[in-house]
Amino acid sequence: MPVVEKKQVMSATEMDRTLQRLAHEIVERTADIDRLALVGIRRRGIPLAERLARNIGAVVGHPISVGSIDITLYRDDLSTTATQPEVHASDIPAVDDRDILLVDDVLYTARTIRAAINGLFDLGRPRRIRLCVLIDRGHRELPIEASFVGRVVQTTLSELVDVRLQEIDGEERVMLIDRVP
């Protein structure tokens, strides 16, 4: 699908500073750090969760539990397309009675988050689930909001927010792109 880059929303430096700021916010608003576990939503939520966990760990002085969840099996779309679906393993720490922080790159319709919550509940009963995202681009289709937001970006429905991470894309920036009609 052809796209055109419109503008850069965040540079590498800005992303780094935001993740530092989020780490501090999370520590400030989490009473019992020992119960905290970060779960990155595949795919780009995972490196973000790992970085956040490191940042939080640096603030509090000990390692923070971090894992990942693949939501393929929890999606709510039933359409069967010609391309081959693939599922990946999840690596979720124990959830019973824990304070789970889901981490994703972009919050949009919130369907992904709903699927991730379903996945977590299949494993046990967390004490609490909160959400941290790098970008909130609006256009919610479910009543779910993030407790921790890096930046809010206004977008139209045809636009996309493209978060590029070193670990996956080999570069580090957030782009606003548009679909070519």
């Binding site: 929890y74 081959q84 369907r111």
Partner: protein, 318 residues
């Protein structure tokens, strides 16, 4: 984006890469068997037709459970209760099933090539759950997953398959699969069930009529059921088979000390396998059952699971 897999009819045409993909895709489904809540909604609204024209309890329940745990519905046809007895042809029976709009058909049938035949007459994916003497692909996949998990890999193993090889679709599927990973395969059983042509099925296959020689140094031993009901020929007398070919503790000791014992089930204790061997530490029989569930869930997901539209866009997140 790879094209969706259409049917799973046989192991023979698959590459080692494709088999590895199936096994990797089974891993998340193994995880799910350990969750307190084992039911997903992934295939909610989809239905799986189980067309079993041959008696089977274990495979049918395995597929039914796999579908149910993914949230799919099942339509179950069993030969004894079907209108086949009234003379309805196989094609008509399957078309009747297809008219109820399942999303895929899981087929077990006594005629070799039946899955191939049906796949040419329906417009939905077909999974071969065993066709005559030809293949039983999901059995070979779950056996491979079991071996891979216990052994760390599938490369270069020494595998011995025991029993009535010529009439075994499990043997054929396993021979094709393990050979693709460079296994050295020894087939052992009464000579009239070991035709020369079995050595031509795939590279790395040899025959042997003495069980002690066949087990020497084996990494994996697959013991087959002795299939009395499929033989339309005089069978070997039971005591003769036991004396010559039963897998006893002392015989199994001739294999490697950490050799794995697999069996497609159900085991006839005291016939092909001695009871203590069936229950011993080398026996993987129960893992095979759990892995069978994982493999079949993965297969259903891969063949009829939805992907949604979002994945198609570059770097877009929901």
């Amino acid at each position: 984006m790879p094209e969706r897999i259409g049917h799973l009819l046989a192991i023979e045409p698959l590459s080692a890469e494709q088999i590895t993909f199936f096994l990797d895709q089974s891993k998340p489904f193994q995880q799910i068997q350990r969750h307190p809540l084992k039911k997903l909604a992934t295939l909610r609204g989809k239905s799986v037709a189980l067309a079993f024209f041959e008696p089977s309890t274990r495979t049918r329940i395995s597929f039914a459970t796999a579908a149910a745990r993914l949230g799919a519905d099942t339509m179950s046809l069993q030969a004894a209760s079907s209108s086949l007895k009234k003379g309805e042809s196989l094609i008509d029976t399957v078309h009747t099933l297809e008219a109820m709009k399942p999303d895929c058909i899981v087929l077990r049938h006594a005629a070799s090539g039946a899955a191939d035949f049906i796949a040419r007459h329906v417009a939905i994916p077909v999974i071969n759950a065993g066709d005559g003497l030809h293949e039983h692909p999901t059995q070979a996949l779950l056996d491979a997953l079991t071996i891979r998990d216990r052994r760390g890999g599938l490369e270069g193993l020494s595998v011995t398959i025991l029993g009535d090889i010529s009439h075994s679709r499990v043997a054929r599927s396993n021979i094709h699969l393990l050979s693709k990973f460079g296994a050295r395969i020894t087939l052992c059983g009464p000579a009239m069930w070991l035709p020369r042509e079995l050595e031509l099925l795939a590279p790395g296959v040899r025959r042997c009529s003495r069980i002690e020689e066949a087990l020497d140094g084996a990494d994996v031993v697959i013991a087959l059921r002795v299939q009395q009901e499929r033989l339309n020929e005089p069978a070997l007398p039971r005591d003769e088979y036991i004396r010559q070919f039963q897998l006893t503790r002392s015989r199994l000791a001739g294999a490697r000390p950490d050799a794995l014992l697999l069996h497609p089930g159900p085991i006839i204790r005291g016939l092909e396998v001695e009871s203590p061997v069936a229950d011993g530490p080398q026996s993987c029989v129960l893992e095979q059952v759990t892995n069978g569930l994982a493999v079949r869930m993965a297969l259903l997901f891969l063949l009829i699971g939805g992907t949604g539209g979002i994945e198609d866009l570059p770097h877009a997140s929901d």
